[in-house]
Amino acid sequence: MGGGFGRRASPTVDVVVETAEVVKAARTLGGVVAGRAIKNMWAREDDIQGGYYRPMAHNRLEAVLGDDGNPTSWLHRIVSQSSVKGNEFEFLIAKGIDMTSVAGASDMPYRVPGFRVELHTPERGPIVQWMRSVGNVNTCLAVECFVDELAHRAGKDPLEYRRALLGDASENARLLKTLDLVAEMSGWSRPLPKGHGRGVAIQDYWGTKISQVAEVSIDGNALKVERVFCAVDCGLVVNPLGAAAQIQGGILFGLSSALYGEITLEGGRTLQSNFHDYPILRMPQAPQVSVEFVQSDAEPAGVGEAAVPHIAAAVCNAIFAASGRRARTLPLVAAGFEA
């Protein structure tokens, strides 16, 4: 059946229900032989137009900077439909807050004295569900692009700015180590040709600490992601080849969404239908992804979802470094870039 990327973990088990309905209908027509396996195969159009989308989200962030350029207060307002409301994963909503919507925002690693995160959960028509990697994809983009903007406002290097904000808090020590490693891997301080830029994004994804650097080139509206570097501390690495595959794949999966992943609803219908109007990354557009793991004896944490959220932010920050343009909406092709 191939990769599900969250779609197979459907809270409504809709594919199973549909198959059962087909069997029931076939039985009344005498078309079902007991003991035979039933296969339910969807066309690509069924998959793309059949609902269950990642929730659309809007983020607004405000901060006050102190004399040293670091934020003294921080307000992050998130508007996102809940992917668990009304299904059996509703237990993830506590006191009205869907924790999958605020993950990556309420637990962001930077120390800010005045810190507030707001969540607004509108109920809308589209059926939504988690898509690799749930709410963090949204919040990581917002937090990491915002921190980047603060760094530039403060006149500081975006990587050094993050390093300072992480401070010497012991809970950030492992994340900091991945940031140092990715700086070294990517040659962060080495100059790049005109039209090229590097962007960084970091996040602790449910115990896996990840820092990424993307290098892009911009020529007019033409955007190319040249290469990506990723430093990971996921605790003890059990299967190095498998773990690196998940990190590499997660980054390219996230890049597909960031560049191309647009779904448009018009009159309740999805306009996209197949790979001609819902493209995903092809080999010529896929950057080389270099992955290194920090040696760690900590208990193993996941790698399947962990590297997906950062890439959109790293690319958007790199676009700014290359061109001075801020990309604040995704997908990037819908924001005027050609990729």
């Binding site: 059946m1 191939g2 990769g3 990327f5 195969m41 066309a43 690509r44 080849l241 498998g242 595959a245 998940q246 590499q248 794949g249 997660g250 980054i251 390219l252 999966f253 597909s256 197949n274 790979f275 001609h276 995903i280 990354l281 092809r282 080999m283 010529p284 896929a286 080389q288 992804v289």
Partner: protein, 154 residues
């Protein structure tokens, strides 16, 4: 209508309608499950097979238009195919695996034509094969490794 089709060196007589896609014939009539259904429009490459050695999308060719020997991943057995298979296993290329038979059929055709492909040539030859898991980096590395193994690359 009856069609005569040679697949992996075996000739089959098939009673199907003329517009039946080759992919359906392979999977549903002949039970050859290597080629996969991905998009039905020749956009993703999951269904790639060879027609007289040239990669084609079996979802988008009608059985009536097939004029030549069909080879699927099950029948790909020469040195190039074996070298690629070994490299694929060695580098642990597949993730979910759905696209991989198609990827391999494109890679086999590439290395038969161009024993020393550089990255740009590989990109061009493989651009029609989608992989949502993101195994592209390892596919490219495996093609280089197979090319070295068969002596085409220094």
């Amino acid at each position: 209508m009856t069609y005569s089709l040679s697949v992996n060196g075996v000739r089959h007589e098939l009673d199907v309608t003329s517009d039946t896609p080759l992919l359906w014939v392979l999977r549903e009539k002949l039970g050859i499950k290597g080629p996969k259904f991905g998009c039905g429009m020749g956009l993703c490459g999951c269904c790639t097979v060879h027609l007289d050695g040239t990669p084609i999308r079996s979802c988008s060719i009608a059985v009536a238009d097939v004029d030549g020997e069909i080879t699927t991943i099950e029948g790909a057995r020469d040195d190039v195919a074996e070298a690629l298979r070994d490299a694929w296993i060695d580098l642990d290329v597949p993730q979910c695996g759905y696209c991989q038979a198609g990827q391999l059929m494109s890679a086999i055709a590439l290395l038969r034509e161009t024993p020393r492909p550089d990255d740009k040539v590989i990109d061009a030859a493989m651009a029609g094969n989608l992989c949502r898991c993101g195994t592209y980096n390892r596919i490219k590395a495996a093609i280089h490794q197979a090319a070295r193994a068969i002596g085409g690359e220094g």
